[in-house]
């Protein structure tokens, strides 16, 4: 396998550059320092590694040709969506061809009766949200907390979760079908679409699990059929506050029992001061009428959480109509430094108190304002718990602290009985060191079968 510092097997760089131009056109290939510089960076703390070429394809057929070229010349291929995983999942560790997939941004179909959207892989969250609001106001999708420039397919591919996580689970549970370019170049479809039917269901056909959670190491998703859900006329957020983290799992349990909420998130953070030391719940509610909204609020705040309020242990802060697009970018500015990274984990809800306490301690030890958050998945089957570490990009010391804090937190997540969600290289090695050896062996076999030349996003999920 070639590395960034050694010459390629096969063709010389000039020939490859020309071959790429022949595939996508000169405007969409670059080997210039500016593109190589920008695309070498993840927005978190991962060290940059330069690709050799940046290519922006428009069709699966173009990707197929690039893959053929890469296989012949044993060149790594790294698929990139929004680039907002903040875990270095699309950093070209061994150089190669960085595929910026965002030109493939057509919303192909929205089927409002079967409630799905068929999207190219580069469609962004913001684009889909806006499209549905304007053209299909009765439909919505589960939008994650990432900036709206994040791609839908990228988020699904890393088992993301969004603001419908409580009733409907992970975003990867919402897939009706995929089109994938395999590491050997074949274009495959999975789900009902593969037998010529519409893209309305994945089950009961053979699974697409080998393309989700594999960070692009098993193939490149080029199309996705995503389940959509009813969007009610009134949507907004109610807030509930407790000051004792031990109460958080019980509050989650009570709210989920009512089955009235769309999204339940508990968070605590140093900045701004009103949030410090307290656990705020943001509870998204949706209703088609004031009557329905009042009914839901009554069940949650008067009934399920009523005794918290009466005892004075929990406070209701009202309901505000309208859902805001996520403003997570502001977290990057807390150290006036343009950067943050976070450890996301999938944890049992019961572990919230310990996750909070230990995370706060790690942050404070590294001089970082603490920020933690837990998003309910399913009926409190699990939560996505994140510990966020802001840093100042102009201050290497703060980046070092953030990185150290994240490594500690990766270990903490596993120690507390959870798993690391979308781990970077360090977290991947921790997970693999604990993985069932037969499972690890199977992963290796699958990878070798699908990607015999080892070209797909090398460095990530490499089983030793």
């Amino acid at each position: 396998m070639r590395s960034a510092s050694s010459p390629q097997e096969g063709g010389n760089p000039t020939d490859i550059y020309q071959a790429l131009i022949d595939i996508v056109g000169a405007d969409h290939v670059s080997n210039r320092q500016e593109e190589l510089y920008i695309y070498s960076w993840d927005l978190g703390t991962t060290e940059p590694h330069r690709p050799d070429w940046v290519v922006s394809p428009r069709t699966p057929e173009e990707i197929q040709k690039i893959i053929f070229l890469a296989n012949v010349n044993k060149i790594p291929v790294i698929p990139l969506g929004g680039g907002l995983s903040l875990a270095g999942l699309a950093v070209p560790f061994r150089g190669g061809i960085l595929l910026d997939l965002k030109r493939m941004d057509t919303i192909i179909e929205v089927n409002d009766r079967a409630r799905y959207a068929l999207l190219e892989c580069g469609v962004s969250q913001g684009q889909l949200t806006s499209y549905l609001e304007r053209r299909f106001p009765g439909l919505t999708h589960s939008e994650p907390g990432a900036p709206p420039a994040a791609t839908v397919a990228g988020n699904v591919a890393i088992h993301g979760q969004g603001d419908l996580g409580h009733p409907y689970g992970f975003n990867s549970d919402m897939v009706n079908g995929l089109e994938v370019v395999l590491p050997t170049g074949e274009i495959c479809r999975f789900g009902a679409c593969s037998i010529g039917a519409k893209w309305f269901t994945q089950h009961p056909l053979p699974d697409v699990g080998i393309f989700l959670g594999w960070t692009g190491t098993t193939g490149i998703i080029t199309k996705i059929s995503l389940r959509l859900f009813p969007r009610k006329k009134i949507r907004g957020t109610a807030i509930f506050v407790v000051d004792n983290e031990e109460q958080v799992p019980d509050v989650f349990h009570r709210i989920t029992h009512t089955q009235m909420a769309e999204d339940i998130v508990a968070f605590s953070q140093t900045i701004p001061p009103y949030a410090s030391g307290l656990q705020h719940f943001t509870i998204n509610l949706a209703a088609d009428s004031d009557k329905e909204l009042e009914f839901k609020q009554e069940l949650i705040f008067d009934d399920a959480l009523g005794d918290y309020i009466r005892r004075g242990d929990g406070g209701y802060l009202g309901f505000t109509r309208g859902l805001q697009h996520p403003q997570i970018s502001k977290t990057a500015d807390w150290r006036k430094g343009g950067g943050f990274e976070y450890v996301g984990s999938i944890m049992p809800v019961s572990q919230y108190p310990e996750c909070y306490r230990r995370g706060r301690e790690i942050s404070e030890r590294h001089g970082i304002p603490y920020t933690v958050l837990g998003r309910c998945i399913g009926a409190a089957h699990a939560m996505m718990f994140s510990w966020t570490y802001a840093f100042n990009r102009a201050d290497q010391e703060t980046m070092r602290h953030a990185k150290d804090a994240m490594h500690e937190t990766d270990e903490l997540a596993l120690k507390l009985g959870g798993t690391i969600w979308k781990p970077g290289l360090y977290g991947q090695s921790l997970v693999m060191s604990r993985l069932d050896p037969n499972t690890l062996t199977l992963m290796k076999k699958l990878k070798q079968l699908l990607d015999p030349n080892g070209i797909m996003n090398p460095g990530n999920w490499e089983v030793p």
Partner: protein, 393 residues
């Protein structure tokens, strides 16, 4: 390079590259930055530009033609400032200007930019047309030279020299006459206001131009200026006061609206047509004027205004700002913002795409031709539509 010499050293690293800057306010498309829309490489987005600037100033990368191209592809449309959720948002264009300024100082700017600025310096316009020709746009009109009338009508470089836009300039003059406005023009004595010069990083030249213009206007006793171009409007209203000017500045749409509402302009001719309006960046996002053009169109009998999905603060820039109406760094592709914009206009089912900016007029009309839409869509300045509605045609 030394980043400590950069005025915005303290904040340039704060860009997170979250990508908000690529979207309009209504999120409908990731292509609301004209440079990113054209090239679809992260380097051409606002965030990419800021990161590359910092990389250059810290010697992580070297200056190159490509870097200069990336910097100068910014049209200063302000979409990024409006979208950026961080506190640095108010200085994004300032940072890009400052970076361009460093390139100008070192003489390392794209050839197109160098030609533009040299032409301004020598000929007073970016086209390289002799100063003596500046008044030719007046043609056989009865427009008067400025001599203490109430308003100075400032036409700008594009209105003075671009043959298509000269039509709009003349028609505006005719409409102002029809409305009984007391105004004069400078004709061949008019000089460029410098808005693009400033946005291209030539701060020193801009200062000189501003001071000369202010002196000229003061000598002539100018009190009020009405501009054809929102770019001129912006410079005269927002930048010139820093050099001691004290004039009342209006974009012509405000003046026309005033005339219509005071019944001094009678729009008698019925124009039964669907029209959409393209918000110019320097009128809309830069100066928060979205209403006057719309109210004018609403007052014209027969006109039905249809909004594009990206309108007002969501508008996609035509790609002409930052000198690009002349340098054309963003052309040559169906992905150019001008071609995208005319396709969007066509999708609304209108026959006329109305504009209120000379640069938008010339760029969008060219885009219509390149897209082969001449028989389906006409680009007209609002002044031209009002002229028709007054029956002065």
């Amino acid at each position: 390079m030394n980043i400590t010499d950069f005025k915005y050293e303290e904040i340039i690293h704060r860009c997170f590259r979250c990508g908000y800057c690529k979207f309009p306010v209504n999120w409908m498309d990731v292509n609301n930055c004209p440079a990113y829309a054209r090239y679809r490489m992260e380097t051409y987005s606002c965030g990419g530009r800021l990161w590359l600037t910092r990389a250059w100033l810290t010697d992580a990368i070297q200056w190159s033609d490509h870097l200069a191209h990336i910097l100068y592809s910014c049209t200063s449309c302000k979409n990024c400032e409006i979208k950026c959720p961080l506190g640095i948002n108010v200085d994004i264009i300032n940072m890009i200007r400052a970076a361009k300024g460093i390139m100008v100082e070192k003489g390392r700017i794209p050839k197109e930019a160098r030609d533009f600025l040299e032409n301004i310096q020598v000929h007073g316009n970016p086209y390289g047309i002799p100063k003596s020709k500046r008044g030719d746009w007046m043609g056989a009109t009865s427009l008067e030279i400025y001599k203490n009338q109430e308003y100075l009508y400032h036409v700008g470089c594009v209105g003075s020299h671009d043959t298509r836009v000269q039509e709009a300039a003349r028609k505006l003059g005719r409409v102002l006459q029809r409305g009984g406005v007391s105004f004069g023009v400078l004709g061949r004595d008019e000089r460029c206001d410098g808005n693009e010069v400033k946005n291209m990083g030539e701060e020193a030249l801009f200062e000189m131009m501003a001071q000369e213009n202010i002196a000229r206007f003061n000598k002539l006793g100018v009190k009020k200026i009405v501009t054809l171009s929102p770019h001129s409007y912006n410079a005269l209203k927002n930048d010139y006061p820093l050099y001691g000017s004290n004039f009342e500045i209006l974009h012509y749409t405000r003046l026309l609206l005033n005339l219509i509402e005071k019944d001094r302009l009678h729009l008698n001719v019925n124009i039964p047509v669907k029209v959409t309006f393209h918000d110019p960046c320097f009128l809309g996002r830069w100066n928060s004027e979205y209403d006057a053009p719309r109210r004018i169109l609403a007052a014209i009998p027969g006109v039905k205004l249809v909004e594009m999905e990206r309108s007002r603060e969501n508008a996609l820039c035509c790609g002409g700002g930052g000198g690009n109406f002349c340098m054309d760094l963003l052309g040559g592709s169906p992905d150019s913002s001008a071609r995208r914009r005319v396709r969007e206009a066509l999708a609304t089912g209108v026959a006329i795409l109305a504009v209120a900016c000379p640069k938008c007029l010339t760029i969008l009309e060219d885009a219509v031709k390149v897209e082969g839409l001449d028989d389906r869509l006409i680009v007209k300045d609002i002044a031209e539509i009002v002229d028709e509605a007054c029956g002065t045609t």
